[in-house]
Symmetry: C2
Subunit: 206 residues, 2 copies
């Protein structure tokens, strides 16, 4: 559910013996949570492939995705992203146990390969201790959180209710629908619209 | 508010001309949000220095912090961590504008240096375009989120009310206080106790 994406222009490699490596593309650290479902996997795969983190030929930032540019993806499992702190000690009981996380991780890779070009999707050794050499370009680092989880499901249920209420209101008259739309934004859902009409900062350089 | 921490055993360096570099320690990517306050900075500084991401002499994982081991910290500003997605395009209106974020970033560095050893805290060039070479050891990557923000403030207000209610209940009799304690856990606050009594997974290797 928590995914860390770094933009790579030159190189990202795994291990001293170079288990795996990519050139231009994305290095993805995948943190799989106990309550992740295929729906989360589907969301994450789609976002990784479609996220516009690269510039186009004219140098316009945030305009091209991995798929647009025929770029590579390197996926590494990273259960420590599911860490919660007990004081200053990390605790990982929210991470999916390895025996379940490994097939889940493999299915994410399979989905990504079949949605894109299999030869451009690289992976690490699941659960292995490795040195990951990331040459982060920018730097540009983005966190992705898939929408589902108990909290989010509750949130979604709430939003659905709001939607229903909105539709009722609309049936009576069109007033206020704009304002209500804004109130449905969820902090937990990074795919939710920012609500800002202007897009001033999106051309900003790191 | 969103902070990405990578464990480094060998090297992390900034830029081709090596603007800055560290050996064993933590590489910290700092995403400062529009609504961050000195309280967030204080929390983040404390957690970075005290997080137990390193092993001790006997090889016991998750037992030593940067401070315990006299290790280095490299801090890099990274506004892209504040990204929200508008479809597949990143939008950064939640990031603190550069003219405010720069002094905020500098104050975080100052706080960290005065809380620790100034010579062990390195930084990058604020807002500069750089190649960040991260040799992530494990890999071990952790996300830190400071507790404040509008949503969290609401959450805290709610918790305070619960606390008050609990204290009222306690005044009447001690029943149920344990159960209520559990219900105060917040998904947004990674420092919140996991609630699990066992700590089985915390010795797990990446």
């Amino acid at each position: 559910r928590f995914v860390n994406v770094s933009r790579i222009t030159r190189k990202c490699k795994l291990g001293e013996e170079q288990v795996s490596s990519i050139g231009r593309g994305l290095c993805v650290l995948l943190g799989i949570s106990v309550d992740d479902t295929p729906r989360d996997a589907e969301y994450i795969v789609r976002k990784i492939l479609s996220l516009r983190l690269f510039e186009d030929e004219s140098g316009r930032s945030w305009s091209r995705s991995v798929m647009d540019g025929n770029l590579e993806v390197l996926c590494v499992s990273q259960f420590t992203l599911q860490c919660v702190l007990k004081g200053n000690k990390p605790d990982f009981h929210c991470a999916m146990p390895a025996e379940l996380a490994q097939p889940f991780y493999n299915s994410i890779l399979e989905d990504m390969r079949s949605a894109y070009k299999p030869e451009l999707v690289k992976d690490g050794k699941f659960g292995a201790f490795m040195q990951v050499h990331i040459q982060n370009d920018g730097p540009v680092t983005v966190e992705l959180t898939s929408p589902s989880s108990l909290t989010d499901l509750k949130q979604m249920a709430k939003q659905e209710k709001q939607q229903q209420r909105k539709e009722k209101t609309r049936a009576k008259g069109p007033a206020e629908s704009g304002r209500e739309k804004g109130s449905q934004r969820s902090r937990q859902d990074p795919s939710a619209s920012s609500g800002a009409e202007g897009d001033v900062s999106s051309e900003r350089e790191p």
